[in-house]
Subunit: 159 residues, 2 copies
């Protein structure tokens, strides 16, 4: 059970875009330089964020990506759901109905499997914590010098 690196990359890019406060779109090549990431692959990873309405993409020359909403209105849950999907990590295959369970009455399986309920309970706690934190909150956790450093770095590479 392991989360893909798309979440980490996406969140870092969202923070960078918020700090830059650019009103013109930022191309993936520039974003990739900020974190030394493979540009083509980063582009593929940001596309789910566009489809989810978190990023706005502008095609053509001088195109690129920009935040579609304010950082306070983007939760970590939104990002994780966009990149990793909305389905639950634990998926119940209803094996309780097989073998010994095949002998049971049909109405006995009215409510969901106890194991699925227990796992779902834990996963809901996880989702709740993700939904309670926004990109703006995470920006506050970063070191104070980071915003200015990103802005300066971006100005240098756009020369």
């Amino acid at each position: 059970m392991q989360m893909g690196e798309g979440v980490e990359w996406g969140l870092h890019c969202l923070l960078a875009l918020a700090w830059l406060e650019e009103h013109t779109p930022v191309a993936t090549g520039r974003l990739a330089e900020i974190f030394e990431l493979p540009p083509e692959y980063l582009k593929k990873r940001l596309q789910p964020l566009v489809r989810a309405g978190i990023l706005a993409s502008s095609p053509g020359a001088r195109g690129g990506y920009a935040l579609a909403r304010r950082p306070e209105e983007i939760t970590l849950m939104d990002v994780v759901a966009a990149v990793e999907g909305r389905e639950e990590a634990f998926r119940c295959t209803e094996i309780r109905k097989q073998g010994a369970g095949a002998l049971a009455e049909a109405d006995e399986f009215g409510e969901p499997c106890g194991i699925a309920k227990a796992m779902r309970r834990a996963e809901m706690a996880w989702r709740r914590e993700l939904a309670a934190q926004t990109v703006a909150d995470v920006m506050g956790l970063a070191s104070g010098g980071a915003p200015a450093r990103v802005r300066r770095f971006y100005q240098d590479i756009t020369l």
Copy 2:
């Protein structure tokens, strides 16, 4: 981000073993029949539980698996950690130190990355909920007829 089926299979087997209340070990073939699972593959999935000290294995004829502890002393966290590993789902690769971050002072990265902290916070909530629920608790969530049905089914296939 998806959890392997080993957790589901392992938990169902733990519940079945607890309900059987057998003092002699139960072979994987019997367990597999209870849920109509591939026997050889189920065996592979139960091995991590043995290494974690949740199941006790007996080799040789009349061998098999038995609970190593009482159901009240086995948390869902124990099972998930044994099967899926103890490492966190979100792994920080410290890309904040690359690119623009390379220009920062070294002491600026004293405390962990804000993104990692936020993700860790959510994951800790998940782990807390898993650790708060035991196999005995999950047994209580199952339908009332399940224990007797499993016992009867097991008696039939051991004839």
